[in-house]
């Protein structure tokens, strides 16, 4: 490519022109942007589904006035499934690693690209192909299994389970390829002087995530193929009518999907580490503890899947062991929280929009964390399992955690990605609406869960009405916040003033190169002589 650069533009965006140059690009930055465009589109669809669900739950059906927007239980179940499957497989899992990770991992370690640029492009096509298969179900028989595909319902339902699980299978391939790429990149392409212990914490987080992606995703792939084989050819594995065991499916499914929740959250923790240190102009407190607690969480996360199954019929002994192991995951997570707060001590804290999202993350993740411990306690989980308490808990960690970090990271790196600044006041306002809306939507769901309202309910008893109303109103506030965020992005892209090299005064490598970066990332290969957060 070096020969080309003479008669091409001065950054990665105008380096080559035309749609074809994007579709065939092997530049990690462009691939990151392609992921961004597609993930944002899926987020819009998944979000609309969520708003529909909340609108339906505004009132119980007997008192139907505003509430009755979805025709019947079947339609509700389909919307619920699409919301879950799209948000998990197409938004949160690829979100931070595929967008921000792709774009910034090589920049962070002073590399020209990832280790396997063509495989990187292939992973985007895998993602698109899988997403196309999943979306295709919408035009056939739709799908109503919930994103968890529990057997034997998923085998017996008349909807398009096979197509959907094949979609998830192909998207899983994309995840595996990205993980592989990141691991090799971290090991082989670090700039001179960039030792493992000088890597930014975002890189450590991506590295831990990549290990999980590589090891856990194949298990999901096998499980989904077995499910498809059972549905297509009647091979008896999970359906008791064919001699199978439905609980076995749950073991297989959660063996992937529990590590997968860490695939979703660890990168977010990485982003937050970057934001907290930059916006308090201070070295991160306990670099080593944060870096290795990511690996620790990744390792222990493989042995806690059974905590999704305390009432599934698995043995009481298994339940006790899984409860114990789950407590151990709590420790490294708590350590991270304390380290972030300690970093603020004696810092110089600014309230720029990325930092607001990082502080919002700490607030929501603290609540998500303590409720996670509650759910790990056996008899408490027996009551809360499959109620709105669980719904609230995982939205606090997955949306409050991951989406907050994604938005914060996005505002943080926007000047570097596009070379333009955005409207800071509206960006802050978007945070206010998302943060308040989020709590208004999901906090009442903890109470609903305690009161016993089961999840995945199309209708509910009148006692639950008021809290559901509050929750629905909150969803409109979140909508407002994200619309403002969208406006900030579009306005910034079109009319944003030119961004300086390093608007936030960060110390990591990506801020040393031009905004937006040139095709090869750095004009001269950087030589690293110190850690990533040397604010002295």
């Amino acid at each position: 490519m070096a020969t080309k650069s003479a008669h091409h533009g001065d950054n990665y965006i105008n380096f080559e022109k035309g749609l074809w140059s994007w579709l065939t690009t092997v530049d990690h930055k462009r691939i990151g942007l392609m992921y961004m465009a597609t993930v944002m589109f899926f987020f819009l669809i998944g979000g609309i589904m969520a708003l529909l669900l909340r609108l339906e739950l505004f009132a119980p059906n007997a008192a139907a006035n505003v509430g009755n927007v979805l025709k019947n239980g079947d339609v509700y179940n389909q919307v619920l499934t699409y919301h879950g499957a799209i948000m998990v497989f197409m938004v949160i899992v690829p979100g931070i690693p595929a967008i921000l990770g792709n774009f910034f991992l090589p920049l962070h370690i002073g590399a020209k690209d990832v280790a396997f640029p063509k495989i990187n492009l292939a992973s985007w096509y895998c993602f698109m192909a899988g997403a196309a298969l999943a979306i295709a179900t919408f035009f056939f028989k739709k799908i109503d299994t919930g994103w968890t595909f529990y057997t034997p319902y998923s085998i017996r339902t008349g909807t398009a389970t096979v197509l959907m699980v094949l979609g998830a299978f192909v998207m899983g391939m994309s995840s595996v390829l990205t993980g592989l790429n990141f691991i090799v990149t971290v090991h082989k392409l670090r700039a001179p002087g960039m030792t493992m212990h000088r890597m930014p914490l975002f890189v450590w987080a991506l590295y831990s995530t990549a290990i999980l992606q590589l090891l856990a995703t194949p298990v999901l792939a096998i499980t989904l193929l077995l499910l498809a084989a059972e549905k297509l050819f009647g091979v008896g594995i999970f359906d008791p009518a064919l001699g199978g065991d439905p609980v076995l499916f749950q073991h297989f499914f959660w063996f992937y999907s529990h590590p997968a929740v860490y695939i979703m959250i660890i990168p977010a923790m990485g982003v937050v580490s970057e934001l907290i240190t930059t916006f308090s102009k201070k070295v991160i407190f306990g670099y080593t503890a944060i870096a290795y607690s990511s690996l620790g969480i990744a390792a222990v996360s493989f042995f806690v899947w059974g905590h999704h199954m305390f009432v599934s019929g698995q043995s009481a002994t298994a339940g006790i062991i899984f409860s114990f192991l789950t407590m151990l995951v709590g420790v490294p997570t708590a350590i991270k929280m304390f380290n972030w707060v300690a970093t603020l001590y004696k810092g110089s804290v600014s309230f720029d929009s990325p930092m607001l999202f990082a502080l919002g993350f700490l607030f929501l993740f603290a609540i998500g964390g303590v409720t996670g411990i509650m759910l790990a306690v056996l008899p408490i989980d027996v009551h809360f399992h499959d109620t709105y308490f669980v719904v609230a808990h995982f939205h606090y960690v997955m949306v409050g955690g991951t989406l907050m970090a994604l938005m914060g990271g996005f505002y943080y790196w926007f000047p570097k990605m596009f070379g333009k600044m955005f409207n800071e006041s509206i960006a802050r306002l978007s945070f206010v609406f998302i943060f308040i809306g989020f709590n208004v939507t999901f906090f009442p769901q903890f109470i609903l869960g305690a009161m016993g309202m089961p999840r995945r309910y199309f209708d509910y008893i009148p006692a639950y009405e008021n809290l559901n109303k509050i929750s629905t109103i909150g969803s409109w506030l979140i909508l407002t916040g994200f619309l403002m965020g969208l406006w900030v992005i579009v306005q910034g892209l079109r009319n944003g003033p030119k961004a300086p090299l390093n608007p936030w005064g960060s110390k990591t490598l990506e801020w040393q190169t031009a905004s937006p970066p040139p095709h090869d990332n750095f004009a001269v290969e950087p030589i690293v002589t110190a850690g990533p957060y040397e604010y002295r």
């Binding site: 239980g73 017996r156 599934s312 409860s323 420790v331 300690a342 603020l344 306690v377 008899p379 027996v382």
Partner: protein
């Protein structure tokens, strides 16, 4: 202990119907308070720091504090101790929850799309209604006819999946009279949220009388038994019997002896054999305008007597 009771009062947990529910709530109250303190420390610390150390000038000097081994040990160790403590406390209660008492009153509970069927030892069956005596150990033996269901009684803090192909069990000892909700908490399709039952806790004498009455009902005339069976099998959730209104499936009101148009536009007279076929092989004839594959087969679930009783009941729907 006032703060403790306050926490429990603010916990929004439903009425406590069993001793175990009280134990669970004590633990939950403890967790609520600990969680509140933990959040107050973390979030409060965060708010205090960001305010105290807010940026005053663009070139503020900041401290260079990379780590503090002692502090890090303390804040790893304290959470670990708390986590292991609540784990052990949870284990203790869970052990009681999962240890089946001897000589309990056993009742079979079968989950199916979308109703709970209860069967007492004397053969009496009810649907979506479980009546149990107060202060008595009751053991429920759960199974499922089709997909996963989960038997949840919020007031008893009790939940267990009903899994097709195996038995699972729960036990409880109700110490409060009254009616309590039974919910299905494992997603099971179209009417998952309608799969709601009632658990009635009654005095021991009332319970005995209830079972006797159930016995007597078994000696009813054929059509009456059909009516009862119609309710037990939850046929009424899809077929109306007192008006021509269409629910999920066709109405059965005043249908016997009339002609029905099928989905291939052929006509058939509704007679005894048509009704029998429709119960045992429901996809053989589909009434025009209704989807195939919705009604499950009752092959193997209805004996000859029961089939006759149902046919007799439908005959008399006038």
């Amino acid at each position: 202990m006032m703060w403790f009771n306050l926490a429990k009062a603010q916990s929004f947990m439903p009425t406590q119907g069993t001793e175990i529910a009280k134990q669970v709530d004590n633990l939950y109250g403890f967790l609520l308070i600990t969680s509140f303190i933990a959040c107050a420390l973390v979030i409060g610390g965060m708010i205090y720091f960001v305010w105290k150390y807010r940026r005053k000038t663009p070139n503020d000097k900041t401290a260079y504090i990379s780590h503090n081994t002692f502090l890090e040990f303390v804040w790893s160790f304290i959470p670990l101790v708390i986590f292991l403590g609540v784990f052990a406390w949870g284990w203790y209660i869970y052990h009681d929850m999962r240890t089946m008492p001897k000589n309990a009153l056993e009742i079979n509970v079968v989950g199916k799309q979308w109703a709970w069927e209860m069967e007492y030892k004397n053969g009496y069956k009810t649907v979506n209604e479980l009546v149990v005596p107060i202060n008595t150990d009751v053991k429920l033996i759960l199974s499922s006819l089709d997909v996963l269901h989960s038997f949840f009684v919020p007031s008893f803090r009790m939940k267990q999946d009903a899994v097709p192909g195996q038995y699972t069990a729960v036990w409880f000892r109700a110490d409060k009279l009254g009616d309590f909700h039974i919910f299905c908490t494992e997603y099971c399709g179209t009417s998952h949220s309608g799969m709601i039952g009632k658990l009635k806790v009654v005095n021991k004498e009332d319970f005995d009388r209830y079972l006797e009455q159930g016995q007597e009902e078994r000696n009813l005339p054929l059509a009456k038994r059909g009516e009862k069976l119609f309710a037990v099998k939850a046929c009424a959730s899809c077929h109306s019997v007192d008006s021509p209104a269409v629910k999920v499936g066709p109405t059965l009101f005043q249908k016997f002896g009339t002609e029905e148009v099928l989905d291939d536009n052929s006509k058939v007279t509704i007679d005894e054999n048509y009704l029998r076929d429709s119960m045992l092989n429901p996809n053989k004839h589909i009434v025009k305008g209704f989807p195939k594959g919705v009604m499950p087969t009752f092959q193997g679930q209805l004996n000859e007597n029961e089939l006759s009783a149902l046919v007799e009941y439908i005959k008399e729907l006038k």
